[in-house]
C-alpha cells in the first residue's frame, strides 16, 4: 500500500540515532514484526530512491489523545549514515513523507512455550522491538541480546525492559554492559527448545547463523540489501540461497522472499 504519512515526532534517542513516529492508515495495524516499509524522503529527485526501514513499532493512539478518532501510527528507528537518513533526521512534526508498506515476509514467531532469543547488533535492534512486543503479548519468554561498538549504539533498552524482556547488553569497548561480542553472550544461552531472531550487520548474522546451526537452535535472520522497488520486480536486492553456485544459481529477493529468512535458507560462506 502506498500512502502519505505525517511525521508525528522525530527524536534523537542516541547520538546519530532517531526514532520517528508517523501517522498511518488503519490497514497498517495488520503489519507483522519483521516486515518493512520503503520511505520516500523528499518529493524531489534527490534522493531518488525510496529507503527501506524495518518497523520499530506499530500501534494506535487512542481517540482521547489523538483528538477525536483513533490514530494508527508506525515508528521507525534509524541511524544517520548517508544523504537520505540525514535528510530524514531533519524532519519534524507536520512534515509529510510517502510510504510503501507493509512489505516483505515477517518473522515466524514459532510455537508457543519456547524461549525466544532476540539478537540485535546496533541499529539491527530496530525490528526486534515490535517483535518483542508481539511475543510478550502472546505470553512468551523473551530475552534480548543487544550488541554495539560502544554505549551510543545500544538503543531503547528501557523500552524492551518495560515490556518485561530480559536484556543482555555487550559492547566492543565495554562502555556499556559486558565487554565483547554479542555472540559470545548469546552462546551461553543457547540450548535446544529455544529460537533465535537476529538482525544486524552481516558478519554478526553469519556468526549467529553458524552458531545456531552448531547448537541446533532454529534461527531467523533479517537481512539488508540495496533496494530499488521493494516489491520483487527489479531483482536488485537478491542474496544467494544456500544451494547457490555459479552453475546452479539460486538467488532470493530480500524484499519479497525476505527480509526475514530461516538462516539455513541462505549461503553464509
Amino acid at each position: 500500500m502506498q500512502f502519505k504519512s505525517m511525521v508525528v515526532s522525530n527524536v534523537e534517542v542516541s547520538p546519530g540515532y532517531f526514532r520517528m513516529r508517523m501517522t498511518a492508515p488503519k490497514e497498517l495495524e495488520k503489519t507483522l514484526p519483521g516486515q518493512f516499509l520503503m520511505l520516500k524522503v523528499s518529493e524531489s529527485i534527490d534522493p531518488l530512491l525510496r529507503r527501506p526501514f524495518g518497523f520499530f513499532d506499530v500501534g494506535v493512539l487512542p481517540a482521547e489523545y489523538a483528538g477525536g478518532a483513533d490514530q494508527t501510527y508506525a515508528e521507525i528507528l534509524f541511524k544517520v549514515v548517508g544523504k537520505g537518513t540525514k535528510m530524514l533526521s531533519t524532519l519534524h512534526h507536520g512534515d509529510l513523507v510517502d510510504l510503501l508498506a507493509p512489505l516483505g515476509k515477517p518473522f515466524n514467531p514459532g510455537p508457543g512455550g519456547e524461549e525466544k532469543l532476540l539478537v540485535g547488533g546496533g541499529i539491527g535492534l530496530a525490528p526486534l522491538y515490535y517483535l518483542a512486543k508481539e511475543l510478550v503479548a502472546k505470553g512468551e519468554k523473551v530475552r534480548l541480546f543487544a550488541g554495539g561498538r560502544n554505549r551510543d549504539d545500544i538503543l531503547c533498552i528501557t523500552e524492551f525492559e518495560r515490556l518485561g524482556v530480559e536484556t543482555y547488553v555487550s559492547t566492543d569497548d565495554g562502555t556499556l554492559g559486558e565487554s565483547g561480542l554479542v555472540t559470545e553472550v548469546l552462546e551461553r544461552h543457547l540450548a535446544p527448545g529455544k529460537r533465535i531472531f537476529a538482525c544486524g550487520p552481516t558478519p554478526m548474522l553469519r556468526a549467529v547463523a553458524l552458531m545456531a546451526e552448531r547448537h541446533q537452535v532454529p534461527c531467523q535472520v533479517s537481512m539488508e540489501a540495496y533496494m530499488a522497488c521493494g516489491v520483487g520486480a527489479c531483482l536488485g536486492c537478491v542474496l544467494p540461497g544456500a544451494a547457490h553456485t555459479e552453475e546452479t544459481p539460486d538467488y532470493r529477493c530480500v524484499c519479497k522472499d525476505g527480509p526475514v529468512f530461516d538462516s539455513f535458507e541462505l549461503k553464509w560462506s
Binding site: L48, Y226, A228, V231, A233, L235, G236, C237, V238
Partner: protein, 305 residues
C-alpha cells in the same frame, strides 16, 4: 468536452494510451497488481526473457546516483518455459497487450526465444533487447554494431509474425545508424533508450559499488539524452518509436511524443511510485483536457523546430 482520445497505434497493436511499462522495471506484471490497475495502461513489457533461466550478476546490483540509478541485474529471468507456465496464465487474464522483451546469449538463442514466443496467443508482440554482449564475437555488444544488430533483427524477423520492436542502446556514436540498420532488417517499431553504461565507486572501500563494476544508468538523469535520440531517429526513420528514459510524469511523457515517439515506457519511476504508469497516463490525459487537445496522437512528432 469529450474525453480526449488517448489511443495510439503501434506496429499493428492498438494501445488504450501511450504508456507502457519498461522491461526489467515491472517484473512480470503481477508484482505491481496491488499498486495499479493493469488495465489502465497501454501495454505491459515483461522482464527480458532468455531461452534458459538466467541467474544474473552477483550483488550489489543497484546503486543510486545523482538523479538516477545504476543497475547490473545481469538479465536474471525465469526463462521462457517458466514464463509460459508460471507468468503468462496470470497475464492472459489481464486485458492489456503483453509484449515480451527477449534476448539471447548467442545469435541462435535470439531466434529460438522468438520462435517460442511466436506460438503464444497471449503475447501481443516482442521487444528485442540487443544491448547484450555477443559472446561469440568476443563480447562486442549486438546493439552497438549495425551489422551484428541486423543479423539479430533478421533472425528474429524470420522467427516471428508478431509485431517486432527493437530496443536500441544509447551507447553508440550515432543512434540513427543503428536505427536505420534495424529498420532495414525488418523491425516494426523501435524503442529507445536502454541504459547508458556507467559506474559508481565506494571511495572508502576503494571498490566499485556494483559487483559487476559497471551498470546501466536510468532515471531522470538520462532524460535529455533519451529525448535527443528519439528526436534524431524520428527525423531519419519512418518507423513508430517508443520513447524511454527518465519519464517521471505526464509532461515528460508528452515531451517524448512531441519529439516523435508514438508511445513511451516508464521504468525507474515505477520504483519510486509503483502506480507511476497509471498516474502518468492520467496526467497525460489531464493535460489534453486542460489544453483542449482532442487526440493524443496529434502530438506525435509535433515539435516545431
Amino acid at each position: 468536452m469529450h474525453r480526449p482520445d488517448m489511443t495510439v497505434e503501434l506496429a499493428g497493436i492498438t494501445l488504450r494510451n501511450p504508456v507502457m511499462t519498461a522491461s526489467g522495471t515491472f517484473g512480470y506484471g503481477a508484482e505491481f497488481a496491488e499498486h495499479l490497475d493493469l488495465e489502465s495502461i497501454g501495454a505491459l513489457i515483461t522482464k527480458g526473457l532468455s531461452l534458459r533461466p538466467k541467474a544474473g550478476n552477483p550483488t550489489p546490483r543497484i546503486v543510486e546516483t545523482p538523479g538516477g540509478m545504476l543497475n547490473a541485474i545481469g538479465l536474471q529471468n525465469v526463462g521462457i518455459d517458466a514464463f509460459i507456465t508460471e507468468k503468462l496464465p496470470y497475464l492472459a487474464k489481464v486485458n492489456t497487450p503483453v509484449i515480451a522483451n527477449l534476448y539471447g546469449n548467442t545469435l541462435e538463442e535470439y531466434g529460438e526465444v522468438a520462435s517460442r514466443l511466436d506460438a503464444l496467443p497471449g503475447v501481443a508482440g516482442v521487444e528485442v533487447n540487443i544491448s547484450c554482449p555477443n559472446v561469440k564475437q568476443g563480447g562486442i555488444v549486438f546493439g552497438t554494431d549495425p551489422a551484428a544488430a541486423q543479423e539479430v533483427v533478421r533472425l528474429v524477423r524470420r522467427n516471428t509474425k508478431k509485431p517486432m520492436i527493437v530496443k536500441l542502446s544509447p551507447n553508440v556514436t550515432d543512434v540513427v545508424v543503428m536505427a536505420k540498420a534495424c529498420a532495414d532488417a525488418g523491425a516494426d517499431a523501435l524503442s529507445l533508450i536502454n541504459t547508458l553504461t556507467g559506474m559508481a565507486i565506494d571511495l572508502d572501500r576503494r571498490r566499485p559499488v556494483l559487483a559487476n563494476v559497471t551498470g546501466g544508468l536510468s532515471g531522470p538523469a538520462i532524460k535529455p539524452v533519451a529525448l535527443r535520440m528519439v528526436w534524431q531517429v524520428a527525423r531519419a526513420v519512418k518507423l513508430p518509436l517508443i520513447g524511454i528514459g527518465g519519464i517521471m510524469n505526464g509532461r515528460d511523457a508528452l515531451e517524448f511524443l512531441l519529439a516523435g515517439a508514438s508511445a513511451v515506457q516508464v521504468g525507474t519511476a515505477s520504483f519510486l511510485d509503483p502506480g507511476a504508469a497509471q498516474r502518468i497516463a492520467a496526467e497525460m490525459e489531464q493535460y489534453l483536457v486542460d489544453h483542449k487537445i482532442a487526440a493524443v496522437a496529434s502530438l506525435i512528432g509535433a515539435l516545431e523546430v
